[in-house]
């Protein structure tokens, strides 16, 4: 599987956020997107996720499931944690596993991997910000999609949580997955490719 972008241009609200972005990623590779605030890190991830359309250029996925679009094979971990306060931790995770699919490591294993096993029956309303983030990480594990798009994944996580995240990412890469992460600091991937946005502008 190879994910690449050529000459990508993103325009939002009449303003060019970035132009001429190129990258190419193969199985088991990670790309860390860096740049100052407003340089378009989140927009780039949303472009890849299919939630925005590029003003020019294209994003190509080779070797994935030909029946599915790129956005149907990608995980998107945005700034917000899409949880419903009235549902329990387990129900939230179960819904996304059923809706997004395909099944990955299984619900209980995913909760354990994110360190939430003892909170499974608590309504999501009572979770702290870091615990909400962990529940979003559990989603990555419980659903088996090969491309992970992570927008500042370490935000709100404590050091133990960051270690778990790094472990999950390394495991995903070892299985041949792809990761594109927007980050300001180190996120625990040593041999990742780097893409810096906003320097030319």
């Amino acid at each position: 599987m190879r994910l690449s972008a050529q000459d990508l241009v993103c325009r939002r609200g009449g303003r060019e956020v970035f132009t001429g972005v190129d990258f190419s990623l193969a199985d088991g590779e990670a790309l860390i997107v860096t740049g100052r605030n407003g340089s378009g890190k989140s927009s780039l991830l949303r472009l890849i996720a299919g939630l925005l359309r590029p003003a020019a250029g294209r994003i190509v996925l080779e070797g994935g499931d030909p029946e599915l679009t790129l956005s149907e094979q990608a995980h998107y971990l945005g700034h917000q944690d899409p949880l419903k306060a009235a549902l329990t931790v387990r129900e939230n995770l179960q819904f996304w596993s059923d809706y997004l699919g395909p099944a990955g490591a299984g619900r209980e294993a995913a909760l354990a991997a994110a360190g939430l096993a003892n909170l499974a029956d608590v309504p999501a309303a009572y979770l702290s910000t870091g615990q909400r983030r962990r529940l979003s990480l559990a989603r990555l594990v419980s659903i088996g999609r090969p491309i992970w798009l992570l927008d500042e994944p370490t935000a709100a996580l404590d050091s133990a949580g960051q270690a778990r995240l790094a472990e999950l990412m390394r495991g995903h890469l070892a299985q041949g997955g792809l990761i594109i992460a927007a980050a300001h600091g180190a996120i625990g991937l040593s041999d990742a490719k780097q893409l810096s946005l906003g320097e030319a502008a």
Binding site: G78, D81, L83, A86
Partner: protein, 221 residues
């Protein structure tokens, strides 16, 4: 579990749990119908004659009241992004959400209408006709409302936009709903004529609504 049944089950669960607001529409409906005799006066013959119109108007306004929450809640917490990334066809996923919304906010109106008819001294035949026409017409209102709800979310303008956009589209449903209810009572046209048109309006909006809403999401900025 299948993706669409998971979505349906989640929306139903959210509506009936604390803070879900499933009862809001019925409460509003109750208020409109209870206040009407105070405004119009206690003349039973008049109330009885306009009961189908009042019940339809109350149900229409009550169903518009909750429409803007259809996608707004999912947009606020980022769930909408993931719903758009699902593997089920977007049109069908949207139709599923609309169906869940109809079950939790419009079906209670259909059930409440005959009971509220008592407050207006409606005849039992009128109440049955209103319930039947609401059952046929409210899916049309919900699915037309999808268009406004999706536009309000993609344009990031909540609140008033949905009723303003949707109200003109709902007028035919209101006209034929009330006409069919009155036809069941007094004629002169047979009940079937306006009722068939009402069903046709609902069926058309079942198709147009999800397709238009999905187009709004696909072309969002």
């Amino acid at each position: 579990m299948n993706a669409l049944s998971a979505l349906l089950l989640r929306d139903l669960r959210l509506a009936v749990r604390v803070g879900g607001g499933a009862g809001m529409g019925v409460l509003f409906f109750l208020l409109v119908v209870t206040l009407m005799p105070f405004a119009i006066g206690p003349e039973l013959a008049l109330l009885r004659r306009i009961a189908p119109a009042i019940l339809w108007l109350g149900a229409l306004l009550a169903s518009l009241l909750t429409l803007d929450r259809l996608f707004a809640a999912d947009q606020e917490d980022g769930s909408l992004d993931l719903i758009l990334m699902g593997r089920a066809p977007l049109e069908v996923a949207i139709a599923t959400k609309a169906f869940a919304h109809w079950l939790t906010s419009s079906l209670p109106l259909v059930i409440a209408a005959p009971l509220l008819g008592i407050l207006l001294d409606a005849e039992s035949r009128a109440m049955a006709a209103v319930a039947l026409t609401l059952l046929a017409g409210t899916p049309g209102l919900t699915f037309l409302g999808l268009i406004g709800a999706a536009l309000a979310v993609t344009l990031r303008r909540g609140g008033l936009l949905v009723p303003v956009l949707i109200l003109p589209l709902t007028i035919p449903v209101l006209i034929f709903g009330v006409t069919a209810s009155n036809a069941a009572l007094s004629g002169p046209v047979p009940f079937g004529t306006p009722f068939t048109i009402l069903c046709a309006l609902s069926l058309a909006s079942l198709v147009i609504g999800p397709v238009a809403a999905a187009a709004a999401f696909r072309h969002a900025e």
